[in-house]
């Protein structure tokens, strides 16, 4: 039958011999690395090429880029306040990278960058590092008050402080896990329905029924495009909300 496992698409394999070792772990150029390189090139092309010939009456790609940029700008200013304007390049970079990673994964045969939790954890960790650095640079040691909201009575402080601390440091994990699980679930769903189509289509007289899961699969691909954009948007919204903690202490 030659059926593939639905999670086979997430396997990482070396594309060349390992280049060097780091503490016993061979570091090689994998299909994951290749996908990241492609995504970075796509992101650069998406933000650089449309504005090389800027015009008052924008072309199609410039309209698209401006629309995404404006959505990010208004979202950031609303979620993190007007003082967050200098962080717009950072937020827009994250948005572009995640969106391109999600969309590239929808093309059959390409690897989904955001379906690896370690890659998402690096992005989410960089967000939290930026939040921490901003907080400590702007407020100094006063930033520790973010773990103790004002108005909390003194006798509750020993309870509130650990809870707030855990909820702060679990943020990168929840951010990366959300993106990872969404991409994983979506792609497994696509593969399961594709396998169902293949299994029914090769089963003799009932083969014509196989067109039903195929139709459903087309609809799911459309839904996955929506999810790809939505997850990039949610990632940047939550990053902006976390940034607000560092910029405006509560």
């Amino acid at each position: 039958m030659g059926m593939h496992s639905p999670i086979e698409q997430f396997e990482i394999h070396d594309m060349a011999a390992p280049l060097f070792d780091v503490a016993g772990h061979p570091i090689a150029f994998t299909n994951f690395t290749l996908a990241i390189v492609v995504v970075v090139l796509m992101s650069l092309a998406f933000v650089i090429l449309p504005v090389r010939k800027r015009s008052i009456v924008p072309g199609r790609w410039q309209v698209l880029l401006e629309a995404f940029y404006k959505v990010n700008e208004s979202m950031l200013l609303e979620a993190a306040g007007p003082k967050a304007k200098p962080f717009l390049p950072f937020i827009f970079t994250i948005f572009t990278f995640i969106m391109m990673g999600n969309l590239l994964g929808l093309i059959p045969g390409f690897y989904t960058v955001t379906s690896q939790v370690v890659g998402n954890l690096v992005i989410a960790g960089s967000v939290i590092l930026v939040v921490l650095a901003t907080g400590f640079i702007k407020h100094g040691l006063h930033f520790f008050h973010v773990f103790l909201p004002s108005g909390v009575p003194g006798y509750l402080a020993p309870v509130i402080f650990p809870i707030e601390m855990v909820s702060f440091f679990i943020r990168p994990f929840s951010l990366s896990l959300r993106l990872f699980a969404n991409m994983l679930a979506g792609h497994i769903l696509l593969k399961v329905f594709a396998g169902m189509t293949a299994a029914i289509a090769t089963s003799g007289w009932i083969a014509s029924v196989g067109v039903l899961p195929l139709i459903l699969n087309v609809a799911i691909v459309g839904f996955e495009v929506f999810v790809a954009l939505l997850q990039a948007y949610i990632f940047t919204i939550l990053s902006s909300v976390y940034l607000r903690d560092a910029l405006e202490m509560h």
């Binding site: 959300r178 679930a185 949610i234 939550l238």
Partner: protein
């Protein structure tokens, strides 16, 4: 019953709880969101962000149970 069979029963129970809870939660989020926009259509832009944050927080519950289920199948 074999151990591996019980494992899949556990996966089913995990996803059952996650799906019921998150289904109820997400329906609540969107119900309140639509109701708010219907009552005050001019607040649409302001409500959009809050709605997505609520959706993301609720969805996380389902994803956590999904991750636990996936770990049960592939890692345990």
């Amino acid at each position: 019953m074999e151990d591996s069979a019980l494992k899949f029963v556990g996966v089913g129970i995990t996803m059952l709880g996650g799906a019921i809870g998150a289904g109820y939660g997400i329906s609540n989020v969107f119900q309140a969101w639509m109701g708010a926009i219907a009552r005050n259509p001019s607040a649409d832009a302001k409500l959009r962000m809050v709605g997505f944050i609520g959706f993301a927080g609720t969805e996380l519950v389902l994803l956590m149970s999904f991750v636990v289920a996936a770990l049960l199948i592939f890692a345990v």
